[in-house]
Protein backbone atom coordinates (compact mmCIF):
# COMPACT_ATOMS: atom_id res chain seq x y z
CA UNK A 1 0.00 0.00 0.00
CA UNK A 2 2.89 2.29 0.76
CA UNK A 3 4.61 3.78 -2.23
CA UNK A 4 7.62 6.00 -2.62
CA UNK A 5 5.08 8.58 -3.58
CA UNK A 6 3.61 9.06 -0.14
CA UNK A 7 3.52 12.59 1.09
CA UNK A 8 4.26 11.67 4.67
CA UNK A 9 6.54 8.99 6.03
CA UNK A 10 4.48 5.85 6.63
CA UNK A 11 1.38 7.41 5.21
CA UNK A 12 -1.27 5.63 3.22
CA UNK A 13 -2.27 8.81 1.47
CA UNK A 14 -0.44 9.52 -1.77
CA UNK A 15 -0.08 12.67 -3.73
CA UNK A 16 -2.36 11.11 -6.27
CA UNK A 17 -5.09 10.67 -3.70
CA UNK A 18 -4.85 14.31 -2.78
CA UNK A 19 -5.15 15.38 -6.39
CA UNK A 20 -8.15 13.14 -6.80
CA UNK A 21 -9.87 14.97 -3.96
CA UNK A 22 -8.92 18.36 -5.36
CA UNK A 23 -10.36 17.32 -8.73
CA UNK A 24 -13.60 16.22 -7.11
CA UNK A 25 -13.71 19.49 -5.17
CA UNK A 26 -14.43 21.24 -8.47
CA UNK A 27 -18.10 20.40 -7.98
CA UNK A 28 -18.19 22.06 -4.56
CA UNK A 29 -21.32 24.06 -5.43
CA UNK A 30 -23.01 21.55 -7.70
CA UNK A 31 -25.51 20.16 -5.20
CA UNK A 32 -25.50 23.25 -2.95
CA UNK A 33 -28.73 23.41 -0.97
CA UNK A 34 -30.33 25.56 1.69
CA UNK A 35 -30.38 22.85 4.30
CA UNK A 36 -26.73 22.02 4.70
CA UNK A 37 -25.22 24.01 1.83
CA UNK A 38 -22.10 22.36 0.40
CA UNK A 39 -22.30 19.20 2.51
CA UNK A 40 -22.92 16.71 -0.25
CA UNK A 41 -20.12 18.05 -2.46
CA UNK A 42 -17.71 17.98 0.48
CA UNK A 43 -18.50 14.37 1.21
CA UNK A 44 -18.30 13.54 -2.49
CA UNK A 45 -14.83 15.03 -2.69
CA UNK A 46 -13.59 13.03 0.29
CA UNK A 47 -14.97 9.65 -0.79
CA UNK A 48 -11.71 8.44 -2.37
CA UNK A 49 -9.95 9.06 0.93
CA UNK A 50 -12.70 7.43 2.95
CA UNK A 51 -12.62 4.37 0.75
CA UNK A 52 -8.88 4.08 1.04
CA UNK A 53 -8.67 4.54 4.79
CA UNK A 54 -11.63 2.47 5.87
CA UNK A 55 -12.46 -0.97 4.64
CA UNK A 56 -15.69 -1.89 6.39
CA UNK A 57 -19.11 -0.47 5.56
CA UNK A 58 -19.56 0.61 9.17
CA UNK A 59 -16.42 2.71 9.21
CA UNK A 60 -17.27 4.23 5.87
CA UNK A 61 -20.78 5.00 7.01
CA UNK A 62 -19.39 6.80 10.05
CA UNK A 63 -17.01 8.85 7.97
CA UNK A 64 -19.57 9.76 5.33
CA UNK A 65 -22.08 10.81 7.98
CA UNK A 66 -19.45 13.11 9.44
CA UNK A 67 -18.88 14.81 6.15
CA UNK A 68 -22.52 15.15 5.24
CA UNK A 69 -22.92 17.76 7.96
CA UNK A 70 -23.37 21.45 7.19
CA UNK A 71 -20.47 22.89 5.24
CA UNK A 72 -19.77 26.08 3.39
CA UNK A 73 -16.79 28.14 2.38
CA UNK A 74 -15.42 29.84 -0.71
CA UNK A 75 -15.34 26.89 -3.13
CA UNK A 76 -11.87 27.51 -4.56
CA UNK A 77 -10.36 27.46 -1.09
CA UNK A 78 -12.33 24.50 0.22
CA UNK A 79 -9.40 22.19 -0.48
CA UNK A 80 -7.49 23.63 2.44
CA UNK A 81 -10.13 22.13 4.72
CA UNK A 82 -10.38 18.96 2.62
CA UNK A 83 -6.64 18.56 3.13
CA UNK A 84 -6.93 19.00 6.86
CA UNK A 85 -9.88 16.61 7.00
CA UNK A 86 -7.85 14.07 5.05
CA UNK A 87 -5.02 14.29 7.56
CA UNK A 88 -7.43 13.94 10.46
CA UNK A 89 -9.26 11.00 8.92
CA UNK A 90 -5.92 9.32 8.43
CA UNK A 91 -5.02 9.94 12.05
CA UNK A 92 -8.37 8.51 13.05
CA UNK A 93 -7.81 5.44 10.92
CA UNK A 94 -4.45 4.71 12.52
CA UNK A 95 -4.93 5.77 16.09
CA UNK A 96 -7.16 3.93 18.51
CA UNK A 97 -8.80 6.57 20.63
CA UNK A 98 -8.94 9.54 18.33
CA UNK A 99 -11.99 11.66 19.02
CA UNK A 100 -13.78 12.06 15.69
CA UNK A 101 -15.78 15.05 16.87
CA UNK A 102 -12.70 17.24 16.43
CA UNK A 103 -12.68 16.49 12.69
CA UNK A 104 -15.91 18.34 12.28
CA UNK A 105 -15.14 20.96 14.90
CA UNK A 106 -11.95 22.03 13.17
CA UNK A 107 -13.67 22.10 9.80
CA UNK A 108 -16.48 24.23 11.18
CA UNK A 109 -14.23 26.58 13.06
CA UNK A 110 -12.15 27.29 9.99
CA UNK A 111 -14.79 27.44 7.28
CA UNK A 112 -16.29 30.76 8.40
CA UNK A 113 -13.07 32.74 8.56
CA UNK A 114 -11.82 31.05 5.39
CA UNK A 115 -14.98 32.17 3.60
CA UNK A 116 -14.37 35.68 4.85
CA UNK A 117 -10.86 35.72 3.48
CA UNK A 118 -11.75 33.77 0.36
CA UNK A 119 -14.78 35.82 -0.62
CA UNK A 120 -12.75 39.01 -0.28
CA UNK A 121 -9.94 37.62 -2.35
CA UNK A 122 -11.76 35.48 -4.93
CA UNK A 123 -14.94 37.49 -5.42
CA UNK A 124 -13.76 40.91 -4.33
CA UNK A 125 -10.33 41.06 -5.88
CA UNK A 126 -9.54 38.34 -8.42
CA UNK A 127 -12.96 38.39 -10.06
CA UNK A 128 -12.96 42.18 -10.29
CA UNK A 129 -9.54 42.20 -11.90
CA UNK A 130 -10.56 39.52 -14.41
CA UNK A 131 -13.80 41.31 -15.17
CA UNK A 132 -11.99 44.62 -15.65
CA UNK A 133 -9.65 43.07 -18.21
CA UNK A 134 -12.38 41.09 -19.92
CA UNK A 135 -14.85 43.92 -20.27
CA UNK A 136 -12.40 46.47 -21.59
CA UNK A 137 -11.90 44.16 -24.60
CA UNK A 138 -15.44 42.82 -24.85
CA UNK A 139 -17.07 46.19 -25.08
CA UNK A 140 -15.74 46.49 -28.61
CA UNK A 141 -17.09 43.03 -29.38
CA UNK A 142 -13.68 41.41 -29.14
CA UNK A 143 -14.03 37.73 -28.30
CA UNK A 144 -10.69 37.81 -26.52
CA UNK A 145 -12.62 39.57 -23.73
CA UNK A 146 -14.47 36.53 -22.37
CA UNK A 147 -11.50 34.27 -23.05
CA UNK A 148 -9.03 36.39 -21.12
CA UNK A 149 -11.66 36.87 -18.42
CA UNK A 150 -11.83 33.11 -17.88
CA UNK A 151 -8.08 32.64 -17.99
CA UNK A 152 -7.19 35.48 -15.65
CA UNK A 153 -9.68 34.19 -13.12
CA UNK A 154 -9.22 30.46 -13.37
CA UNK A 155 -5.48 30.02 -13.57
CA UNK A 156 -4.88 31.43 -10.11
CA UNK A 157 -8.20 30.24 -8.67
CA UNK A 158 -7.88 26.60 -9.73
CA UNK A 159 -4.12 26.60 -9.14
CA UNK A 160 -4.80 27.67 -5.60
CA UNK A 161 -7.28 24.84 -5.27
CA UNK A 162 -4.66 22.20 -5.97
CA UNK A 163 -1.98 23.97 -3.99
CA UNK A 164 -4.19 24.30 -0.92
CA UNK A 165 -5.11 20.62 -1.02
CA UNK A 166 -1.49 19.68 -0.42
CA UNK A 167 -0.87 22.54 1.96
CA UNK A 168 -3.90 21.60 4.03
CA UNK A 169 -2.90 17.98 4.23
CA UNK A 170 0.68 18.77 5.22
CA UNK A 171 -0.39 21.34 7.75
CA UNK A 172 -2.89 18.97 9.27
CA UNK A 173 -0.49 16.06 9.35
CA UNK A 174 2.31 18.11 10.91
CA UNK A 175 0.04 19.67 13.47
CA UNK A 176 -1.37 16.29 14.45
CA UNK A 177 2.06 14.70 14.73
CA UNK A 178 3.22 17.53 16.93
CA UNK A 179 0.15 17.32 19.09
CA UNK A 180 0.46 13.55 19.35
CA UNK A 181 4.08 13.76 20.42
CA UNK A 182 3.36 16.29 23.12
CA UNK A 183 0.49 14.15 24.35
CA UNK A 184 -2.04 16.90 23.71
CA UNK A 185 -4.34 14.74 21.65
CA UNK A 186 -7.23 14.94 24.04
CA UNK A 187 -6.73 18.67 24.39
CA UNK A 188 -7.39 18.88 20.68
CA UNK A 189 -10.85 17.47 21.19
CA UNK A 190 -11.68 19.94 23.89
CA UNK A 191 -10.09 22.96 22.24
CA UNK A 192 -11.71 22.14 18.92
CA UNK A 193 -15.12 21.88 20.58
CA UNK A 194 -14.69 25.26 22.28
CA UNK A 195 -13.58 26.95 19.10
CA UNK A 196 -16.10 25.13 16.89
CA UNK A 197 -19.05 25.89 19.10
CA UNK A 198 -18.18 29.56 19.39
CA UNK A 199 -18.03 29.84 15.62
CA UNK A 200 -21.31 27.93 15.21
CA UNK A 201 -22.87 30.28 17.73
CA UNK A 202 -21.67 33.25 15.73
CA UNK A 203 -22.82 31.76 12.44
CA UNK A 204 -26.23 30.95 13.86
CA UNK A 205 -26.57 34.59 14.89
CA UNK A 206 -25.55 35.78 11.46
CA UNK A 207 -27.42 33.29 9.31
CA UNK A 208 -30.67 32.30 10.94
CA UNK A 209 -33.13 35.14 10.57
CA UNK A 210 -36.67 35.37 11.83
CA UNK A 211 -38.67 38.40 12.84
CA UNK A 212 -42.22 38.88 14.08
CA UNK A 213 -43.38 42.29 12.88
CA UNK A 214 -46.75 42.16 14.63
CA UNK A 215 -47.34 45.63 16.04
CA UNK A 216 -48.23 46.22 19.67
CA UNK A 217 -49.86 49.52 20.57
CA UNK A 218 -50.23 52.40 18.22
CA UNK A 219 -48.91 55.88 17.67
CA UNK A 220 -45.71 56.86 19.50
CA UNK A 221 -45.86 53.85 21.75
CA UNK A 222 -46.11 51.41 18.87
CA UNK A 223 -43.57 48.65 18.77
CA UNK A 224 -43.40 45.15 17.35
CA UNK A 225 -43.07 41.79 19.03
CA UNK A 226 -39.76 41.39 17.23
CA UNK A 227 -38.47 44.64 18.70
CA UNK A 228 -39.59 43.62 22.17
CA UNK A 229 -37.73 40.33 21.79
CA UNK A 230 -34.61 42.11 20.61
CA UNK A 231 -34.97 44.45 23.56
CA UNK A 232 -34.82 41.48 25.90
CA UNK A 233 -31.81 40.08 24.11
CA UNK A 234 -30.68 40.85 20.59
CA UNK A 235 -31.16 37.78 18.43
CA UNK A 236 -33.54 36.14 20.87
CA UNK A 237 -35.95 34.96 18.16
CA UNK A 238 -33.33 33.30 15.93
CA UNK A 239 -31.77 31.74 19.02
CA UNK A 240 -35.07 30.39 20.27
CA UNK A 241 -36.00 29.18 16.80
CA UNK A 242 -32.69 27.36 16.40
CA UNK A 243 -33.23 25.65 19.74
CA UNK A 244 -36.71 24.60 18.76
CA UNK A 245 -35.22 22.98 15.68
CA UNK A 246 -32.45 21.47 17.79
CA UNK A 247 -34.99 19.85 20.11
CA UNK A 248 -37.13 18.63 17.21
CA UNK A 249 -34.03 16.96 15.78
CA UNK A 250 -33.32 15.43 19.16
CA UNK A 251 -36.84 14.03 19.25
CA UNK A 252 -35.92 12.33 15.99
CA UNK A 253 -38.03 14.49 13.74
CA UNK A 254 -36.86 14.01 10.17
CA UNK A 255 -35.11 16.92 8.55
CA UNK A 256 -37.58 16.60 5.65
CA UNK A 257 -40.45 17.14 8.02
CA UNK A 258 -38.78 20.13 9.63
CA UNK A 259 -37.98 21.56 6.22
CA UNK A 260 -41.60 21.28 5.18
CA UNK A 261 -42.76 22.82 8.43
CA UNK A 262 -40.42 25.72 7.78
CA UNK A 263 -41.71 26.21 4.26
CA UNK A 264 -45.27 26.23 5.54
CA UNK A 265 -44.27 28.65 8.30
CA UNK A 266 -42.48 30.93 5.85
CA UNK A 267 -45.30 30.98 3.31
CA UNK A 268 -48.00 31.36 5.93
CA UNK A 269 -45.93 34.03 7.64
CA UNK A 270 -45.73 35.97 4.40
CA UNK A 271 -49.40 35.44 3.57
CA UNK A 272 -50.78 36.43 6.98
CA UNK A 273 -47.97 38.85 7.72
CA UNK A 274 -46.92 37.47 11.09
CA UNK A 275 -43.33 36.96 9.89
CA UNK A 276 -41.26 39.48 8.01
Amino acid sequence: MMTSNTVKENSMITKKDLNKVALRSLSMEWSWNYERQANLPYCYALIPIINKLYKTDEERAEAMKRHLEFFNTTPHLSTLLLGISTAMEEQNATEENFDTSSINNIKIALMGPLAGIGDSFIWGTLRIIATGIGISLARQGNILGPILFLLVFNIPAQGLRFFLMNAGYKLGAEFLTKIEKSGLMESLTYGAAVLGLMVIGGMTAENVSINIPIAIGSGDEATTIGDICNGIMPGLLPLAFTFVVFFLLRKNFKTTTILLLMAVLGLAGAFFGFLG
Binding site: G141, I200, P238, V245
Partner: protein, 260 residues
Protein backbone atom coordinates in the same frame (compact mmCIF):
# COMPACT_ATOMS: atom_id res chain seq x y z
CA UNK B 1 -36.71 25.09 -32.23
CA UNK B 2 -33.11 24.07 -32.77
CA UNK B 3 -31.98 27.44 -31.49
CA UNK B 4 -34.15 26.95 -28.41
CA UNK B 5 -32.45 23.62 -27.73
CA UNK B 6 -29.01 25.07 -28.32
CA UNK B 7 -29.70 28.00 -26.01
CA UNK B 8 -30.94 25.57 -23.36
CA UNK B 9 -27.65 23.73 -23.69
CA UNK B 10 -25.72 26.99 -23.40
CA UNK B 11 -27.62 27.78 -20.20
CA UNK B 12 -26.90 24.31 -18.86
CA UNK B 13 -23.24 24.76 -19.66
CA UNK B 14 -23.33 28.03 -17.78
CA UNK B 15 -24.82 26.42 -14.72
CA UNK B 16 -22.30 23.61 -15.05
CA UNK B 17 -19.66 26.02 -13.79
CA UNK B 18 -20.62 24.61 -10.40
CA UNK B 19 -19.51 21.20 -11.60
CA UNK B 20 -16.32 22.61 -13.08
CA UNK B 21 -14.71 24.52 -10.28
CA UNK B 22 -17.00 27.57 -10.04
CA UNK B 23 -15.08 28.76 -13.08
CA UNK B 24 -17.37 31.71 -13.95
CA UNK B 25 -18.93 30.18 -17.08
CA UNK B 26 -22.23 31.53 -15.80
CA UNK B 27 -21.16 35.16 -15.93
CA UNK B 28 -22.96 37.34 -18.51
CA UNK B 29 -19.70 37.97 -20.34
CA UNK B 30 -19.43 34.28 -21.19
CA UNK B 31 -23.13 33.50 -21.55
CA UNK B 32 -23.68 36.52 -23.80
CA UNK B 33 -20.82 35.45 -26.04
CA UNK B 34 -22.08 31.87 -26.37
CA UNK B 35 -25.61 33.10 -27.08
CA UNK B 36 -24.15 35.29 -29.80
CA UNK B 37 -22.34 32.29 -31.27
CA UNK B 38 -25.53 30.23 -31.29
CA UNK B 39 -27.51 33.02 -32.95
CA UNK B 40 -24.72 33.81 -35.38
CA UNK B 41 -23.80 37.26 -34.14
CA UNK B 42 -20.68 36.78 -32.04
CA UNK B 43 -19.65 40.40 -31.82
CA UNK B 44 -23.13 41.47 -30.72
CA UNK B 45 -23.19 38.65 -28.15
CA UNK B 46 -19.85 39.72 -26.72
CA UNK B 47 -20.92 43.37 -26.54
CA UNK B 48 -24.27 42.62 -24.92
CA UNK B 49 -22.52 40.22 -22.55
CA UNK B 50 -20.20 43.03 -21.49
CA UNK B 51 -23.15 45.33 -20.90
CA UNK B 52 -24.98 42.80 -18.79
CA UNK B 53 -21.76 41.91 -16.96
CA UNK B 54 -21.51 45.52 -15.86
CA UNK B 55 -25.13 45.47 -14.72
CA UNK B 56 -24.57 42.25 -12.75
CA UNK B 57 -21.16 43.28 -11.37
CA UNK B 58 -22.38 43.30 -7.80
CA UNK B 59 -24.27 40.04 -8.22
CA UNK B 60 -22.29 37.18 -6.72
CA UNK B 61 -23.22 34.80 -3.99
CA UNK B 62 -21.79 35.14 -0.53
CA UNK B 63 -22.82 32.47 1.93
CA UNK B 64 -26.50 31.78 1.56
CA UNK B 65 -27.39 35.01 -0.20
CA UNK B 66 -27.91 34.07 -3.82
CA UNK B 67 -28.05 36.77 -6.52
CA UNK B 68 -30.55 36.91 -9.39
CA UNK B 69 -30.27 33.95 -11.76
CA UNK B 70 -27.99 35.65 -14.31
CA UNK B 71 -27.79 32.78 -16.77
CA UNK B 72 -31.40 32.82 -17.88
CA UNK B 73 -31.42 36.61 -17.67
CA UNK B 74 -28.41 36.95 -19.90
CA UNK B 75 -29.19 34.22 -22.42
CA UNK B 76 -32.81 35.25 -22.93
CA UNK B 77 -32.09 38.97 -22.74
CA UNK B 78 -29.29 38.72 -25.27
CA UNK B 79 -31.20 36.32 -27.49
CA UNK B 80 -34.32 38.48 -27.70
CA UNK B 81 -32.22 41.59 -28.25
CA UNK B 82 -30.38 39.91 -31.13
CA UNK B 83 -33.40 38.28 -32.75
CA UNK B 84 -35.58 41.40 -32.53
CA UNK B 85 -32.65 43.59 -33.49
CA UNK B 86 -33.10 45.87 -30.52
CA UNK B 87 -30.08 47.00 -28.52
CA UNK B 88 -28.55 46.74 -25.10
CA UNK B 89 -31.44 48.50 -23.38
CA UNK B 90 -33.85 45.81 -24.49
CA UNK B 91 -31.47 43.11 -23.29
CA UNK B 92 -31.33 44.73 -19.88
CA UNK B 93 -35.04 45.49 -19.70
CA UNK B 94 -35.84 41.82 -20.26
CA UNK B 95 -32.82 40.23 -18.63
CA UNK B 96 -33.17 41.74 -15.19
CA UNK B 97 -36.79 40.72 -14.41
CA UNK B 98 -36.22 37.27 -15.90
CA UNK B 99 -33.20 36.80 -13.66
CA UNK B 100 -35.28 37.70 -10.60
CA UNK B 101 -38.09 35.41 -11.67
CA UNK B 102 -35.92 32.40 -12.35
CA UNK B 103 -34.15 32.93 -9.04
CA UNK B 104 -37.46 32.00 -7.41
CA UNK B 105 -37.38 28.65 -9.17
CA UNK B 106 -33.74 28.10 -8.36
CA UNK B 107 -34.37 28.88 -4.72
CA UNK B 108 -37.46 26.70 -4.62
CA UNK B 109 -35.32 23.88 -5.87
CA UNK B 110 -32.49 24.46 -3.43
CA UNK B 111 -35.05 24.69 -0.64
CA UNK B 112 -37.23 21.72 -1.57
CA UNK B 113 -35.73 19.47 -4.22
CA UNK B 114 -32.05 19.37 -3.42
CA UNK B 115 -32.58 18.60 0.28
CA UNK B 116 -34.42 15.46 -0.86
CA UNK B 117 -31.28 14.29 -2.58
CA UNK B 118 -29.37 15.13 0.58
CA UNK B 119 -31.73 13.04 2.70
CA UNK B 120 -31.44 10.17 0.28
CA UNK B 121 -27.66 10.52 0.50
CA UNK B 122 -27.94 10.37 4.30
CA UNK B 123 -29.63 7.02 3.94
CA UNK B 124 -27.01 5.67 1.54
CA UNK B 125 -24.29 6.94 3.85
CA UNK B 126 -25.87 5.17 6.80
CA UNK B 127 -25.24 1.82 5.14
CA UNK B 128 -21.83 2.72 3.78
CA UNK B 129 -23.03 2.85 0.19
CA UNK B 130 -20.62 5.43 -1.15
CA UNK B 131 -21.75 4.98 -4.72
CA UNK B 132 -25.23 6.04 -3.71
CA UNK B 133 -23.87 9.17 -2.10
CA UNK B 134 -21.90 10.02 -5.20
CA UNK B 135 -24.97 9.48 -7.33
CA UNK B 136 -27.12 11.76 -5.20
CA UNK B 137 -24.53 14.52 -5.56
CA UNK B 138 -24.27 14.23 -9.31
CA UNK B 139 -27.95 13.69 -10.02
CA UNK B 140 -29.05 16.25 -7.45
CA UNK B 141 -27.13 19.05 -9.08
CA UNK B 142 -28.33 17.96 -12.51
CA UNK B 143 -32.03 17.45 -11.93
CA UNK B 144 -32.30 19.91 -9.09
CA UNK B 145 -30.96 22.97 -10.85
CA UNK B 146 -29.15 22.39 -14.11
CA UNK B 147 -31.94 20.82 -16.11
CA UNK B 148 -34.53 23.20 -14.74
CA UNK B 149 -32.61 26.23 -15.91
CA UNK B 150 -32.06 24.62 -19.29
CA UNK B 151 -35.74 23.87 -19.71
CA UNK B 152 -36.78 27.33 -18.58
CA UNK B 153 -34.44 28.99 -21.03
CA UNK B 154 -35.36 26.71 -23.92
CA UNK B 155 -39.09 26.92 -23.39
CA UNK B 156 -39.02 30.65 -22.77
CA UNK B 157 -37.09 31.35 -25.95
CA UNK B 158 -39.53 29.15 -27.82
CA UNK B 159 -42.59 30.91 -26.36
CA UNK B 160 -41.21 34.41 -26.76
CA UNK B 161 -41.07 37.34 -24.44
CA UNK B 162 -44.79 38.30 -24.07
CA UNK B 163 -45.69 34.93 -22.59
CA UNK B 164 -42.91 35.19 -20.04
CA UNK B 165 -44.13 38.58 -19.01
CA UNK B 166 -47.52 37.04 -18.39
CA UNK B 167 -46.11 34.33 -16.17
CA UNK B 168 -44.11 36.88 -14.31
CA UNK B 169 -47.27 38.79 -13.48
CA UNK B 170 -49.08 35.72 -12.25
CA UNK B 171 -46.92 34.89 -9.26
CA UNK B 172 -48.28 36.59 -6.15
CA UNK B 173 -45.84 38.71 -4.15
CA UNK B 174 -46.36 36.74 -0.96
CA UNK B 175 -44.98 33.57 -2.51
CA UNK B 176 -41.65 35.24 -3.21
CA UNK B 177 -41.68 36.85 0.22
CA UNK B 178 -42.58 33.53 1.84
CA UNK B 179 -39.71 31.84 0.08
CA UNK B 180 -37.33 34.51 1.31
CA UNK B 181 -38.57 34.02 4.86
CA UNK B 182 -38.15 30.26 4.54
CA UNK B 183 -34.58 30.79 3.36
CA UNK B 184 -33.94 32.70 6.55
CA UNK B 185 -35.23 29.80 8.62
CA UNK B 186 -33.54 26.92 6.84
CA UNK B 187 -29.97 27.38 8.14
CA UNK B 188 -31.36 26.49 11.58
CA UNK B 189 -31.51 22.86 10.38
CA UNK B 190 -27.86 22.83 9.47
CA UNK B 191 -26.79 24.44 12.73
CA UNK B 192 -29.20 22.27 14.70
CA UNK B 193 -27.61 19.16 13.18
CA UNK B 194 -24.15 20.46 14.01
CA UNK B 195 -25.15 21.24 17.57
CA UNK B 196 -26.67 17.82 17.98
CA UNK B 197 -23.36 16.34 16.96
CA UNK B 198 -20.96 18.54 18.95
CA UNK B 199 -22.74 19.95 21.92
CA UNK B 200 -22.67 18.43 25.37
CA UNK B 201 -23.34 20.17 28.63
CA UNK B 202 -19.68 20.83 29.36
CA UNK B 203 -19.12 22.98 26.33
CA UNK B 204 -22.63 24.20 25.54
CA UNK B 205 -21.88 27.59 27.06
CA UNK B 206 -19.44 28.34 24.25
CA UNK B 207 -22.24 28.21 21.73
CA UNK B 208 -23.93 30.96 23.69
CA UNK B 209 -20.67 32.84 24.00
CA UNK B 210 -20.26 32.88 20.24
CA UNK B 211 -23.87 33.87 19.75
CA UNK B 212 -23.72 36.66 22.31
CA UNK B 213 -20.44 38.01 20.92
CA UNK B 214 -22.13 38.22 17.55
CA UNK B 215 -25.38 39.82 18.67
CA UNK B 216 -24.22 42.10 21.48
CA UNK B 217 -20.87 43.18 20.10
CA UNK B 218 -21.42 42.72 16.37
CA UNK B 219 -18.18 40.78 16.03
CA UNK B 220 -18.06 39.04 12.64
CA UNK B 221 -17.39 35.30 12.37
CA UNK B 222 -13.69 35.76 11.67
CA UNK B 223 -13.40 37.81 14.84
CA UNK B 224 -15.27 35.18 16.79
CA UNK B 225 -12.88 32.56 15.47
CA UNK B 226 -9.96 34.70 16.67
CA UNK B 227 -11.43 35.18 20.13
CA UNK B 228 -12.48 31.52 20.12
CA UNK B 229 -8.97 30.37 19.34
CA UNK B 230 -7.60 32.47 22.20
CA UNK B 231 -10.19 31.11 24.63
CA UNK B 232 -9.52 27.55 23.45
CA UNK B 233 -5.76 27.92 23.83
CA UNK B 234 -6.00 29.39 27.32
CA UNK B 235 -8.44 26.72 28.50
CA UNK B 236 -6.35 23.91 27.00
CA UNK B 237 -3.28 25.32 28.75
CA UNK B 238 -5.14 25.35 32.05
CA UNK B 239 -6.34 21.80 31.49
CA UNK B 240 -2.88 20.53 30.67
CA UNK B 241 -1.16 22.40 33.42
CA UNK B 242 -3.68 20.87 35.74
CA UNK B 243 -3.08 17.38 34.40
CA UNK B 244 0.64 17.91 34.43
CA UNK B 245 0.41 19.13 38.01
CA UNK B 246 -1.45 16.01 38.98
CA UNK B 247 1.13 13.83 37.34
CA UNK B 248 3.99 15.47 39.15
CA UNK B 249 2.14 15.65 42.45
CA UNK B 250 3.84 13.57 45.06
CA UNK B 251 6.90 13.20 42.87
CA UNK B 252 8.88 16.38 42.59
CA UNK B 253 7.30 19.75 42.54
CA UNK B 254 9.86 22.37 41.77
CA UNK B 255 9.30 22.81 38.09
CA UNK B 256 5.69 22.20 37.40
CA UNK B 257 5.19 25.66 36.02
CA UNK B 258 8.30 25.85 33.88
CA UNK B 259 6.53 25.09 30.71
CA UNK B 260 4.01 27.78 31.20
Amino acid sequence: MLQAILLALVAMLGNAEYLFGTCLLSRPLVMGTLTGIVLGDISMGVTLGATLELAFMGAFSVGASIPPEMISGTVLGTAFAITTGTGAEAALALGLPIASLVLIFKNLSMVFILPMFVHKADKYAAVGNYKGVERMHLLGGFFGVNLIIGVIVGVSFYLGSPVIQGILDMIPAWVQKGLELTMGLLPAIGFGLLMQMIMNKNVACFFFLGFALSTYLKIPVTGIAIFGAIVAIVLVQIKNQNKHAVETAGVSEGDEDDDF
